[in-house]
Amino acid sequence: MKRDILDSLQRARAAQRPVALVTNLESGRQALLDGETVTGELTLGGPVLAQARQAILDDRSATLPGTDLFVQAFNPPLRMIVVGAVHIAQSLVPMAALAGYDVTVVDPRKAWATDARFPEVRMSTEWPDAALTTLAPDHRTAVIVLTHDPKLDDPALEVTLKSPVFYIGALGSTRTHAKRLARLREAGLDEAALARIHGPIGLAIGAKSPSEIAISILAQMTQALHGAPPLVKAQVA
């Protein structure tokens, strides 16, 4: 890999621009596709360019069938937006960062959203609907609402349900969640939208402590991200 390609690739990643690196596996020659610009020693024809763009959209690296060309997609990190700077968030945020997520915590209650509780974490103290509108969650974003407080959770959910996020989770018991769904239905949201909310949040692993609940949330997000079926217990003969 030429150093100028490596530096361009790292600059694009630092600027959170999605790019694709195309490598000829025979010669080692490479080209970097960054927006409309292609740089490097490899000339890319129209069909290869189209496949490189698709690789970025699908977030999927692959050797192109019938060729010696390997396309590696580099997308910005997945995002996680946590509404509620609560105890569970204090466990969830560092775990998600370790799993590669770019995390933002939203809580207008200044007593909760402090640097001491969330050192070096990006915080927003706007009201959740305003914060989520600004953050513009996309198909590579997960939104987790943890406040239990309808005046904070509901506006967050109403904005999030209009976006294509891959995961929405809401903390609360079955009863709390049923009441939440009733309020959102009242606010005009349809059943298809409400069915996108994972509530009560997390995989059923018997989680009790804030850290265990964070694990169950992160596990459920991962399952949703990869479209994996719910885990089933192995059959013992």
Partner: protein
């Protein structure tokens, strides 16, 4: 351009090693068949002292890839390596988990 390394950024590590004047090879998983421990696109950076960052398997083939990286660092000619299911020969390098991977190894110039 000086490079700072954050977390497990393999490419940043490769750049940082080059900045320190070390020889560096970069290995990338370019194809997999069956159950393989790391997906296509996974990367491993190796320097001329055999230091590693990242992975191309669950630890089954890294040693062999580091070995192959030596000549790639020396002459700059890239290699396309293939590792498959371990057969009965216990000394064979392979994937104990039963998959096959193709790994592209290139020199970082």
């Amino acid at each position: 351009m000086m490079t700072t390394v954050h977390g497990d950024d393999v490419l940043a590590q490769a750049a940082a090693w080059r900045d320190q004047g070390r020889q560096v090879a970069l290995a990338t998983v370019v194809a997999t068949w069956g159950s393989s421990p790391r997906p296509v696109g996974s990367q491993l950076a190796v320097d001329d002292d055999g230091n590693m960052m990242g992975s191309v398997s669950g630890g089954c083939i890294e040693g062999a890839v580091v070995h192959e990286s030596g000549s790639v660092m020396e002459d700059g000619t890239p290699k396309l390596l293939e590792y498959g299911v371990t057969d009965e020969m216990a000394w064979e390098v392979g994937l104990a988990c039963g998959g096959t991977v193709k790994v592209f190894v290139e020199r970082v110039e």
